[in-house]
């Protein structure tokens, strides 16, 4: 396993960070951190995709990002998420990841080709 896969995981953590910031940031400091998280997340993702198989990178990234945002919202913010929502989010993930995998190395998403 190449160490660059760690970049994908770290990128996902920053992705969850900026998504959380877009919803909950409320002052200059938290908005600044949100913007920094966007830049770091994109930078790491593009870096990882230049080294590793693009579609696999994106599949892991979007999976971790989606699960992460749902968990953060439930655990830290008491979000009103129910079983049906989780089921549809899982279905959406299957669609997004499936589309990425069958599209292969061609670009459709936040990825250089």
């Amino acid at each position: 396993m190449k160490f660059q896969w760690i970049l994908v995981v770290i990128a996902s953590v920053f992705e969850v960070g900026w998504a959380t910031g877009l919803k909950y940031a409320n002052d200059f400091t938290s908005w600044t951190l949100t913007v920094i998280a966007i830049v770091v997340s994109f930078g790491l993702l593009i870096k990882a995709a230049t080294i590793l198989p693009t579609s696999t990178v994106y599949a892991i990234f979007v999976g971790l990002g989606t699960i992460g945002t749902v968990l953060v919202d439930i655990i830290f913010f008491n979000a009103p998420i129910n079983v049906l929502m989780l089921a549809f989010i899982a279905l959406l993930l299957v669609g997004v990841i499936g589309l990425k995998m069958v599209t292969g190395e061609k670009t459709s998403g936040r990825m250089p080709s």
Binding site: A79, L91, G109
Partner: protein, 105 residues
């Protein structure tokens, strides 16, 4: 209203991704303008939609629309493959977005 804003946010993500593709094809100046403009508008709209919608739902739908939208742009304008698997996965995302709309109110 927040759902409409969220969908438009996803469409601007597609605009931003088009900028990435322009950059990889050598159109650096205009590519970076489209990339930056598309994503900045997308993030502002996503943030507005998130004022009302749960974080996990909004993020998932935003990602889904971005991915499906980019695939559709590729199919319609760049002659990318329209095989049945791609169409099936696009349909799954659409069903999931509609379902989330119904169960999220």
């Amino acid at each position: 209203m927040s759902w409409l804003i969220l969908i438009i946010a996803g469409l601007f993500e597609v605009v931003g991704v088009t900028g990435i593709q322009m950059i990889t094809k050598g159109k650096k100046g205009s590519g970076f303008a489209v990339l930056g403009g598309g994503f900045i508008i997308s993030f502002i709209l996503l943030s507005m939609a998130m004022d009302v919608l749960p974080l996990g739902v909004a993020y998932a739908v935003w990602t889904g629309i971005g991915t499906v939208g980019s695939a559709l742009v590729g199919m319609i304008f760049y002659n990318e493959s329209t095989d049945r698997w791609r169409l099936l996965f696009i349909a799954l995302v659409v069903v999931a977005v509609v379902g989330l709309r119904l169960v999220s109110g």
